[in-house]
Symmetry: C2
């Protein structure tokens, strides 16, 4: 995708996006129960068309085999009965999540009979671009409808047949609900997915799911807000006063529990006062779980065999490789993180509470952890019930984002003929009295 | 500004921005009291240097007179003793506002001894670009420091001498506090203010204060999030069941209380069932307060003398001109607002509560009002104590934005050696138990 220019949207794409937007306006005014019903209907339709979806997926897999697609991609492309059943169960779980809409965040009497509310409302239309994983269509469609948003989805072209069969089922489901089937749309060509980036005013949020390159290309080529992150370069700092055994377990879990995840650590910073003691156990332990350590000179002197060069700091391996650096103090560790981190998640291992609190205050990442694995940076683990993505932007929503990332708010003010000019003369006056939420 | 290309930042600008960022990191870790003290010191230094500031302003005014600056601009440029005293009082008021930092938005036990918090933290560094109004430097600097943010400011070049004298005083004030004087910086050249738009990674939020053209240019030329709005095209819909007298008062207040404001109405939509009765009084009333009505054909038939053409819908007059259209029903009014509005603030005048609620649900603007003037769309009137700007973006912060628009949040997770792998095996389990905030 990155080698292409972003084209103007075609008349057809504009028509489609306008239809989604219109459907989304009505969808945004539905009740909690109506949206739950729509999700139930989507789940039922997926189940009813399981065979058709399986056949479409078999055709995609056949073509993938003929074209020699890499085994990892084939595995992601595959949507067998078990995976589909899991995805359908996921739709039902999303239906059970608390309604993110209509929540009153502020309730204030501005003056007598002039009352302000701030209420959560849907964003409008989501644009979702992801790589070949047909179950993602199901997950994203259910999150969108649950939160009252229309969605325009573009999946990897290797999964086109499967995605179309899935989308047909989802739309048939919606047709058995009060929600218009137009609320969901699937794009199938690369040109369309590029032009989607130009639909400011019709699309309110872009959610990319895929490689760093995909995310960065999208961030660089759209004015629409983008939810997500390119890099996940997480750090663990092992302080002089760390419990060595605990720190090592945390390091191993943070690196190996799922090395391809964005919340896996890529660099270990070790205080020099504990480096010898820590590395004596860490070097064989990491070797035992297949992790290659790449160390600075101080690490090499303590037995690390692969050297790290400047390019290793800040590098996202997404693999069983870990850069290690010995630092003279906390300040140097903080400076290293500021310079090389991606503001995703950083952790400190220390028994000293004061040092821990300094770290938690000074590190400006979406997640700052004390004595636990960075792998907890996840919407499900945080108890959000769903994860839309993890954002490394500064502005909210930041970190793991649940359904609340798909809503915004609106102010409602109800009066009885109130005029600003009257207040300018000093009579009546503002009371600014908060009312119960 | 709009005719220029955006240049790469100079080495000097990068150095300056880096210094602001470093100062902001320390500033972000100060206590509420320390930041209040810093604001008190800023206020005291402004007072101490009032004469120097007045002299600088006199020199700016002299040059403005020599160059034949428009009287309205001269009035904005002028910073006399009374205005300065008001601005200093403003700094003290901002000091008294509730601390927006360190507020706990979420507090949850994920599992035994694994506790998650979500805490408000500063954004980092604000980039503020505004037109010649030296008191804005004082206001913005105080909001930035109060919220723990560094700020890089660029004012209109007509006010350069005044702005420099103000900034020198503010920095001297900071030097008498724990906050580094580097936390505030002033740019004085146009090249620098353009290059500011390229400082992604060093600047977290751009706040433009000025003309629609300025705001639009900035939105189109930066990847940094922009807080604000270009257009404010607000509508009032007078329903068939409106109280004609009340609706007319609201219309006049919404148009005339401050016609140059973004929350003034630009278009009036009148239900056909009430149009004749409403316009009979409205036409002379608007004429009496100097407002020119521009009507569609139906309005012309009812006595409006100036015709509206297609370009009048959605136009922001910022003047004593009001477009008027007769609509057959609420749906047509909603469609008109969707097509021509700027999603700022829209109001309905009606005695029918059901119709009002339909309007409040269906209109997707930052503010939706029933039976009151659109002029209430304002941070002070909402009781925020300060207004950073009004945002017409879909994503939060939306509408009038107080200090909360200058903060974000961070997740803190504290554990005791917790590993993700242990949870993957099903023992221990997540409790996701909310704790008191």
């Amino acid at each position: 995708m990155t080698s292409q220019a972003v084209p103007e949207p075609s008349a057809e794409l504009l028509r489609l996006a306008t239809a989604v937007r219109r459907a989304a306006i009505d969808l945004g005014q539905t009740t909690d129960q109506q949206r739950q019903q729509a999700l139930a209907a989507m789940a039922a339709a997926l189940q009813a068309h399981a065979d058709r979806i399986a056949a479409a997926n078999a055709a995609d897999l056949e073509q993938a085999a003929a074209e020699g697609l890499a085994p990892a991609l084939v595995a992601r492309l595959k949507l067998d009965q078990a995976k589909l059943a899991g995805a359908i169960e996921g739709v039902r779980q999303v239906a059970d999540l608390q309604d993110p809409l209509g929540s009153r965040q502020l309730h204030r009497e501005l003056s007598e009979r002039l009352v302000l509310e701030r209420i959560t409302v849907p964003l409008g239309v989501l644009g979702v671009i992801f790589e070949a994983r047909p179950d993602a269509v199901i997950q994203i469609a259910s999150l969108a409808i649950r939160s009252g948003n229309g969605a325009i989805l573009k999946g990897g072209s290797e999964a086109n047949r499967t995605n179309q069969a899935v989308m047909a089922a989802l739309q048939e489901g919606l047709a058995h609900s009060v929600v218009s089937a137009d609320a969901l749309a699937l794009l199938t060509t690369r040109q369309e997915s590029l032009a989607l980036l130009r639909l400011d005013g019709l699309v309110d949020l872009i959610i990319p799911r895929g490689s760093n390159e995909l995310v960065r290309f999208i961030q660089d080529n759209t004015r629409i807000p983008v939810l997500g992150h390119a890099d996940g370069v997480c750090h663990l700092y092992v302080d002089a006063e760390a419990d060595c055994g605990q720190a090592l377990s945390i390091a191993i879990d943070s690196k190996t529990q799922y090395p391809a995840a964005c919340n896996a650590i890529e660099t270990l910073l070790v205080h020099e006062a504990i480096a010898e003691r820590f590395l004596k156990d860490a070097i064989p332990a990491f070797a035992g779980v297949g992790v290659e350590l790449r160390g600075d000179q101080a690490c090499m002197a303590l037995g690390v065999t692969h050297p790290a060069d400047e390019a290793d700091w800040g590098r996202e391996y997404l693999d069983l490789i870990l850069a290690v650096r010995v630092v003279p103090d906390l300040e140097t560790a903080l400076e290293h993180i500021r310079r090389h981190g991606s503001r995703h998640t950083e952790a400190i291992a220390t028994a000293n509470r004061t040092t821990a609190e300094r770290f938690l205050r000074a590190v400006d990442s979406a997640g700052v952890y004390h004595n636990c694995s960075t792998r907890f940076a996840d919407g499900f683990r945080y108890g959000f019930g769903a994860e839309v993505g993890i954002s490394t932007q500064t502005l909210p929503p930041r970190g793991p984002v649940g359904l609340e990332g798909l809503v915004t708010y609106r102010y409602r003010l109800r009066g009885d003929g109130h005029l600003a000019a009257d207040f300018a003369t000093g009579e009546p006056q503002f009371s600014h009295r908060d009312l119960p939420l």
